[in-house]
Each structure stands twice: as C-alpha cells, then as structure tokens.
Amino acid sequence: MSANLLSIRNVGKRFGGLHVLQDVSFEVPAGSIYGLIGPNGAGKTTVFNLITGLLEPTAGHIDFQGDSLVGLEPHRITHKGIARTFQNIRIFKEMDLLENVMVGMHDHLDYGGFGLFFNSPACRAAEKRARERARELLSWVGLDKKADMLADNLSYGDQRKLEFARALATEPKLLLLDEPVAGMNPSEKTILMEEINNIRNRGYGVFMIEHDMRFVMGLCDRIAVLNFGRIIAEGTPDEVRTNPDVIEAYLGKEDE
C-alpha cells in the first residue's frame, strides 16, 4: 500500500458525446489537505460523484488504499472509508443534531435486527456508545451544546459544521468537502478553515473542491487544477499560483 490514500488514473467521463472529464490523474496523499480547483463547469463535482459512486467513469481507474472503487455502490464506498459533504447542505432538518450524527454511524452500529426487539443489553450498549461518540464528534466542531436542537434551527455555518461531524461519524479515512465555504462570510470562513485544519490534524485525509482561492491557497498542501475536463496543473499552492496555464485559465478570470 502506498502513502497515497486515493489514486485517480486516466479517468474519463462522457455524458453521451460530451467529454466532461478526460485523462484525469492525480494522487491524494494520506494526512494532507488536497484541493481541486477550476472554473465553473470544469467537472469538479463530477470527480466527486465518480469517487463516491454516484457516477461510473467511462475510462480509467479510481483506487482507494489499493482497492478499486469503480462499480461499487455509494454505501459500499462509504464503508471503505470515504465520506463527503455537499455543495448544497443536506442535513436532516427534522432530526436533532445528535441523531443527525448517529445516522452517519449506520455501519458501525450493528446490533442485529433481533436484538432490537428484545432490547438486548448488547443493543443498549451499542446505542449508548454511539451516543457518546456522536457527542464527541459534535464537540470536535463545537456543536455539543446544541446536541438536542433540531438541525433546522442551525445557522448556515453551523449546518456546515454539522455536516462535517456527520461525515466523520462514518469513520472515514478520507473526507471529501464540496465547496465547504460556499455562501459564508469571512469570519465564518476563518472558523471553518480552523475546523478543517483540526480534522486533518486528527489524522484524516481531506480532499476539497473550492472556488474561494484565498481559502484553498491558505489551507491546501497540494492542489490540482481542472479546466475543461482536463488537469492543467498540479503541485503546491505556490507552484500552482505561478503556473502560466493556471493564471490564464483560472486566476485571470477570477474577477469575472
């Protein structure tokens, strides 16, 4: 097994005659924050959908810790250790925060169908452990005080944090964040940047798509740049920032 958590090699995706991704290759190392940037419509979310199994690639390989992910259903890929958050937040609004997080533990909270009916001690113990773990995860993102609140009542920034905690509840090795700071004000962004750093420091790999250049440059260890479905640059933030192709394709248009 290599030090790379996720390896994407020569991946292509076609919708009918439209090539959304072509020959995309990059590696996400363990224990780092990796960024994928690119103009709108470059195919970034498609990359996430391919990794999480919502779509299947038409060419190439996607390996996670040496195992191929291609053809696996999303819940199986989650079992392998990949969790994701959404560009449009999808928390469960009619549940409280604790329950939201516990939904993420589905795989790890196996007390069998029958234990349930007999309210077996093993089942109660599993339930108790899950509750404690959920509280711990909420405390990681600073939401433990609001554990019993309905998720619908959270502020936008807190909803993002809840999504983080819920994703971490699946006990992933790699966390995919789809535009984590979309729609946030600068102070919320700063807080979220800290949260993401904390998550990495706890040993998770983080792979994010983000539009906010300052945010990406300040946070990521390495960055890949996608333009018209192809990777045009890959490297450290400094390398990417000074790459002429990137400046032309992306940074030059930042103010449009």
Binding site: L54, T78, F92, M95, V103, H106, L116, A130, A167
Partner: protein, 293 residues
C-alpha cells in the same frame, strides 16, 4: 348507547390507523403512493382464513402467517415493480399506475381462488367472551383488535424514534442521496419498509375481517380510499398523523352512522375530511410536500 358507539369507533379507528400507518410509511420512505396496499390488506384476511380453514391453524398463528404472506407480497411488489421503476427514474405517477395494476391482479386472483361471495371465519375460531361494563358490551374480540393494533403501532413508533433502523429510515425520508452517501443501504431499507408496511396492511385485513366476520375479494378498495383519506388528513408521510387520522375517521364514520344515517356514514365522514382539508390543506401534521432528490 354513546359509550357502545365509542367502543365501536375505537375498534374501527385503530385498524384504520394501522392500515394507514403502513401506507404512509411507504410514502414517507419510498416517496411512492403504493395503491396495492388495499389489495394487500385483502390478501392478509384470505391468508388467515385459509390457514384456519385448511390447516386448522389457531387464530394467532393465522395472524402471523397473514403478516408474513402479505409482507412478502409487499416485498415482491417493491423488488419486481418499484425497484425497476426507481432505476429508470420513472415519474411519480408511474408507480401509482403500476400498483393499481398489482391491486387489480391480486383482487382477480382472490376472486379466482376463493370466489366472489362473502366468506367468514368459523365462529369457534373467534375469541369468545363478552364483558359488560355499565351498559357497554365489550367483546373479547374487540379488545384483541384494539390491543393488537396499538401494540403494533407502538412497536413501529419506538422503532422509528429510538433505533438506528428508525433513524436511517427517517434520514432516507428527508434525503435518500445523503443517506446513501452516509453508508446506508437505501435499497435494502426500501425492501424492509415495503415488507413491514405490507405486513401491517395484511394484519389490518385480518382484524377487519374478524371484526365484521366478512371477507370478500373487494374489501380492499373501500379500505384503500379510507387509507388515502387518512394519510392526507394526517399529513402525507407523517406517522402521528396516520394514527390520529385513522382514529378520527373511525369515530366520524361510526358516530355519523349511529346518529345521522346508516346509509350516509361514509359520506358524512368523507365530507368532514373535506372540510378539515379546506382549513388545513397540508393535513393535521402536514409539512411542505417537498423533498430533495
């Protein structure tokens, strides 16, 4: 006299609620209005009858058998009809039409197998005994019906509210995609839901069959209409709503039959429903009828 009617209403209402609960559960989790639920209800009562008359099973065994058999019918409907439609992203009306077809097939099959005439449980298999409390005659059968209906509803409530399975189902009801990406086997839970809902529908069929001691291939149709009314009244997909709505319909029907007109019971009950929905179009516990893909 009123007390006697209230007892009848409670008996009928608790079975309506049980029936509607399965119906609304499928809508909440699968986002499908499964119009074969009435026929599954009918299947339950025939299975129980067949087990009792042909295999000399006890009533309790017959009830379990009916739940199992109708649950399997529900599971097959999901696996053979709803799943392929989901895979093809069929629009909402398609599963409704498809399940109407299932209902017609099941009704015809029952007619072919058992004939169109009214069948009855042998008297000796019904729970005997009657208590008199004040002026109210309480049949043991009615106690059993109400107890079974409420017990099953309580199990469902607790399972949904307090277990991981319930949390997963509620998560799917809000966003199947988010639930899937959190590691929940959404298809598997669709199957479990379809089984459980049909099992509840099937036992409701046995209970109604026992209460009136009359079973026909066509008994599912009026029940289906009542079920639709109850879940719309309660708020589509809402579990509490199905309970309250079912009890309400039972009371409205029995009381209007007893005090207004025996012919007009259903008309009055449904008229009342209509008036309530004019005031609360999304039902008693209704929320916005939106859901994320």
């Amino acid at each position: 006299m009123l007390e006697q009617q209230l007892l009848n209403a409670l008996t009928l209402g608790s079975v309506y609620a049980l029936f509607a609960l399965g119906f609304t559960l499928v809508f909440g989790v699968l986002a499908v209005i499964n119009l074969s639920h009435g026929a599954v209800f009918m299947v339950g009562s025939y299975v129980a009858l067949a087990l009792i008359t042909h295999l000399q099973a006890s009533l309790w065994v017959a009830m379990l058998g009916a739940m199992l058999a109708s649950g399997i019918v529900g599971l097959l409907v999901d696996m053979l009809i709803l799943k392929p439609l989901r895979a093809r992203n069929a629009p909402h009306l398609i599963p409704m039409i498809a399940t109407i077809g299932v209902g017609i097939m099941l009704t015809s099959a029952a007619q072919g197998l058992f004939g169109a005439e009214v069948l009855r449980f042998p008297e000796e298999t019904l729970p005997a005994g009657e208590f008199v409390i004040g002026d109210v005659h309480v049949r043991a059968l009615e106690i059993a019906i109400v107890a079974i209906a409420f017990l099953l509803m309580a199990v469902l409530f607790v399972a949904l509210k307090r277990t991981q399975l319930g949390r997963a189902l509620r998560a799917i009801a809000e966003s199947p995609k988010a639930a899937w990406l959190l590691g929940i086997n959404v298809e598997g839970l669709f199957h479990i839901t379809s089984f459980a809902a049909a099992a509840l529908g099937g036992i409701a069929g046995v209970l109604i069959g026992l209460n009136f001691n009359a079973i026909t291939p066509f008994m599912g149709q009026p029940m289906l209409h009542k079920g639709i009314a109850v879940i719309i009244l309660g708020g589509m997909g809402d579990i509490r709503g199905a309970l309250i709505g079912g009890l309400f319909l039972g009371f409205a029907e029995v009381i209007s039959k007893a005090y207004l007109s025996s012919q007009m019971g259903d008309a009055v009950a449904f008229g009342l429903l209509f008036l309530i929905l004019l005031v609360r179009p999304s039902g008693l516990f209704g929320r916005k009828l939106e859901r994320k893909a």
